[in-house]
Subunit: 415 residues, 2 copies
């Protein structure tokens, strides 16, 4: 089955917003095993949208539209889609009640144009909207199905997740199962090289690699007649990936982030961590605090941007700074040790580097970062040479620090 996306909104054509809806829905459609060959963006213009819909009807089974369902005169998606499908608009009673309730809650005056949102094409399946005023709808025609969704991601995503995905899943004769294997401590090209034979020989399950900052995600997708059969197809591939990547796999759950995996390890082994950051200036701590409930494992952290702060707060020795410089293996290690002692934590992480754009030298170029880690009695230092701008160097540093932290914990608990 083929699917096509049409996003409606002048704000996309003007570049006011990035089309994250398209990426979200594309990934979900790929996961469902639907073939997508085209995506389009068109403004709030009935004539151009009609032309695009006629073209889409000729080439795709399912056409997903998003945006243009609101109350204003600009919002034309529903009217245009209904006209192309040859259906009149009728009022949906529940949609009208929902709308009334929603607007009351917002304590906004209900202007006349709002009621337009309770109109739906005749015989369509209404997708009630718990997070906004405009319902979505599914229009089943003879040859094509059109699915209309609201544009705001906080309305579209739950509607897609809870109503559209199950609908599409049911219409797919095959069952699709997918698993996300997330790796850290390995680059994308190295990860790809390790599994080149699997990528080249893929059929069912398929395997796709996604490069993230400091991480590589591998999505396995299997199709079969039953869920059990699909899971059975996934299993040997999953095991093979665990065999090849070992400890570099930090999770096989789609929703788990690297900081969550590290926080879970800390919790499991009753360990506490603290941070001392120079060039990353708090971003590592910021990522740890992304994890709700991290307070038992992470109580405090230090940002020591200046040399004086490194000495004062972490006890980095003046001699070390003078002899090796702030960006050195020795300083990173003393930062890690210093924060560990100051906070009374099991583990201390120190990051020092040159994020750029200035401050680089031939010996210590922009992108050079040292990450120190003291985990109880053991110490580690990782030297990194990152590319990219200031932000990219800092983000890469944080991802690599989380990876080193994870390795140190694993090393500690396995020995």
């Amino acid at each position: 089955m083929t699917v096509e996306l049409i996003c409606v909104g002048t704000e996309l054509l003007l570049g006011n917003i990035v089309n994250t809806n398209a990426a979200y829905m594309s990934e979900k459609c790929a996961l469902l095993g639907l073939s997508m060959y085209y995506q389009s963006v068109v403004g709030d213009n009935a004539g151009r949208l009609k032309g695009l819909l006629e073209t889409a009807k000729g080439r795709s089974d399912i056409i997903i539209l998003c945006g243009g369902l609101g109350p204003t005169q600009d919002d034309l998606t529903k009217e245009t889609a209904a006209a192309v499908m040859g259906l009149p608009l009728v009022e949906d009673k529940k949609a009208r009640e929902d709308l009334k309730r929603h607007l009351r809650k917002l304590q906004r005056p209900i202007t006349e144009n709002n009621w337009k949102q309770a109109l739906v094409p005749e015989r369509s399946i209404v997708l009630y909207n718990a997070n906004g005023t405009a319902p979505g709808m599914i229009i089943e025609g003879e040859k094509n199905t059109m699915i209309l969704l609201p544009g705001p991601p906080n309305e579209l995503i739950p509607m897609f997740e809870n109503q559209v995905y199950p609908y599409l899943h049911e219409r797919q004769p095959e069952i699709i199962c997918s698993k996300m294997i997330k790796l850290c401590g390995i680059g994308e090209s190295m990860a790809e090289t390790e599994i080149l034979d699997l990528i080249e020989g893929q059929s069912n399950p398929t395997i796709a690699t996604y490069a993230k900052t400091g991480e590589v995600h591998l999505r396995l997708t299997a199709r079969a007649a039953t869920r059990e059969a699909a899971l059975a197809l996934l299993k040997p591939m999953e095991e093979e990936l665990y065999r090849r990547f070992g400890n570099k796999v930090y999770t096989d759950r789609e929703e788990v982030t690297l900081e969550e995996a590290v926080a879970a390890l800390l919790k499991e082994h009753h360990m506490t961590v603290t941070t001392a950051e120079s060039c990353t200036g708090g971003l590592l701590a910021g990522r740890l605090v992304n994890v709700p409930g991290i307070s038992e494992q992470f109580k405090e952290g230090y940002i020591t941007y200046s040399n004086e702060a490194k000495e004062k707060l972490l006890g980095v020795s003046h001699e070390t700074l003078a002899a090796y410089g702030a960006v050195s293996r020795e300083t990173a290690l003393e930062m890690a040790r210093g924060c560990k002692e100051a906070a009374g934590a099991d583990i201390g992480i120190g990051i020092t580097g040159i994020a750029g754009p200035d401050g680089g030298t031939p010996e210590k170029p922009v992108g050079l970062v040292y990450i120190g880690c003291c985990c109880r009695d053991r110490s580690y230092v990782k030297k990194c040479g990152f590319t990219g701008n200031r932000s990219k160097v800092r983000e890469s540093s944080v991802a690599n620090a989380l990876t080193l932290l994870r390795e140190a914990i694993l090393n500690e608990v396995e020995s």
Copy 2:
């Protein structure tokens, strides 16, 4: 003149990446006064791309393609565009030399398929690529112009900025001048209300609002026959915005961020700042350290996620924590004062709040955040009620803390 975007890449159709290139180029084209009515995404498939190009030729003057210029067999954009324009591919000498130099620098073996990247459609304008192997090109046909660009943003953006933008600018008979007025400390709907008459009465210059976290950006765009005339059109509108928003305007330069504006103020007035963060866990410091050269103004910061750390590192009193709780006006103020004293800085900022998803109560719901600021002898506390998930609450807290910091500095130096 009309322009249309076609992004080529299966990774977009699979949702592996978000199409930030489209947003970037759309904004630039809007700035140039070009009318964009369509954007499309198509996979690495010559037949479908050819169909799309034929359609685009019939409806748009300029067609910008990005992606699919690389060395592999999948990369078909150039071949397809040249065929549609009826032009043979010929080798460009400088492109070949660039390619050789670039690959040598990467110390990669040069495989035969790489040389394909030095081929360009006959008589096209070659856009040499300083950041990658594939050059871009401009193909001027009788009725249409096609502009082909590499897909990776770090190659596309400088090429667009330095070569495509000036080319398009020259072809626009009118001169377009634009100014970005950035506001903080005011919400989007409030900002819009303040200038509703300007928005409704807009013609030349136009005015567009962009909501950012904790900020609102206003873009003014004027068209005229000369640059002087366009700037003259902008001036009264700019002055009107300054009149209406006063100190809430933190910059009128497109490239300046809020943290850069704050850092510039600190530098100008020789003031230093430090931070004490609870729920934001280092993100405020992280944003300050986004600014290269901030080290004279920001030397150290504290992450005090636990109550013990607030007492130990900042000297927040046990009684305050017991009587008012960690999330309170009193604690925020003691955090600000405590870090200011510990760091010996002119200004201390303390942030404490409930970022969620858990930890909220009827009295102190998720999203409640107090931001304290001690600036020399004056103290300020701001109570905020943010909506959204954990990340959104934390980002909003940071943006509001930067705004409070800015207000405190302005208050100090103006009195």
